[in-house]
Point group: C2
Chain length 164, copies 2
């Protein structure tokens, strides 16, 4: 695809996302700053599950210097307005991922290679809500991670770490 015909899907998405973020900020009398937009863009123009360090690296590489404190503060905002999801993965730094791209899903972590796989199962979702109902609770969210060990003999990925 040349400079002419290339479909810039990401571009369109990004504008919508930014608008959503801006509306959120407007509603709470917050300000639209370069730092905030840059972090949103970074999260949505890369695929993966990022630690704060990884985000800082990514942004530094793209000439968007931003302080660690601002990353933390902005991630909070993005989580609040539903654009970013926070993953509490046991014994690892907290990871963050874009929340609108792929819809709701949970994660599988391979204990051999640390790979993170996303999954979604409607049955599972339904049962969870049912269980909450039994205790008179309204679903707010859930954390669900499956840890598995690779059954592929001599998996080439073994013991690599820091994956997506």
């Amino acid at each position: 695809m040349g400079p002419d015909t290339k479909p810039e899907i990401r571009h369109v998405d990004l504008e919508q996302l930014e608008d959503r973020f801006k509306s959120f900020l407007y509603a709470k009398r917050g300000k639209v700053t370069n730092e905030r937009l840059a972090l949103l863009r970074t999260l949505y123009t890369h695929n993966g599950h990022f630690s704060v360090d990884q985000l800082l690296d990514l942004m530094a590489k793209n000439e968007h210097s931003i302080s660690r404190a601002t990353v933390y503060r902005t991630l909070d905002l993005l989580v609040q307005c539903g654009l970013v999801k926070k993953l509490a993965i046991e014994d690892r730094e907290t990871r963050y991922e874009s929340a609108l791209d792929s819809g709701h899903h949970d994660h599988i972590i391979c204990v051999d290679c640390n790979k993170i796989i996303e999954f979604f199962n409607p049955e599972l979702e339904a049962i969870q809500d049912d269980i909450l109902g039994v205790y008179n609770l309204k679903p707010v969210k859930h954390i669900h991670q499956l840890y598995g060990s690779c059954t592929v003999p001599n998996c080439p990925e073994k013991k690599k770490s820091g994956q997506t």
Copy 2:
């Protein structure tokens, strides 16, 4: 059983548990120390999901002084040998609970009162294993927490914290 007729269920359990821990330690050439046994007992003679601070308090109250570092080191051992389960609850200190008492279960956290409720659903368990199978992974463990908001009007527990 007690000296005569009173059934001292806890007592019997504890001995078995200690034996299990001792075997584990023996196998890895570890030593059976008072601190280690005291922590095991503390976890099994109280019901709940404890933070390290809570464990230190409990032990101090029962004249079992033990250092924080040893608590951490011993918890690792207990988790390794399957006697204790580590709960990574989002945005709260890590909690630990006895692992053999009530069998496998996961947790519901009420976002209003912070209460922790245990649940178990065989269907849910089965589906999780199926999902892992799809990716050629053998189940190792899972983390599953449902966050719910209380639908009881004026729930008396509202906003209390630090619950079991």
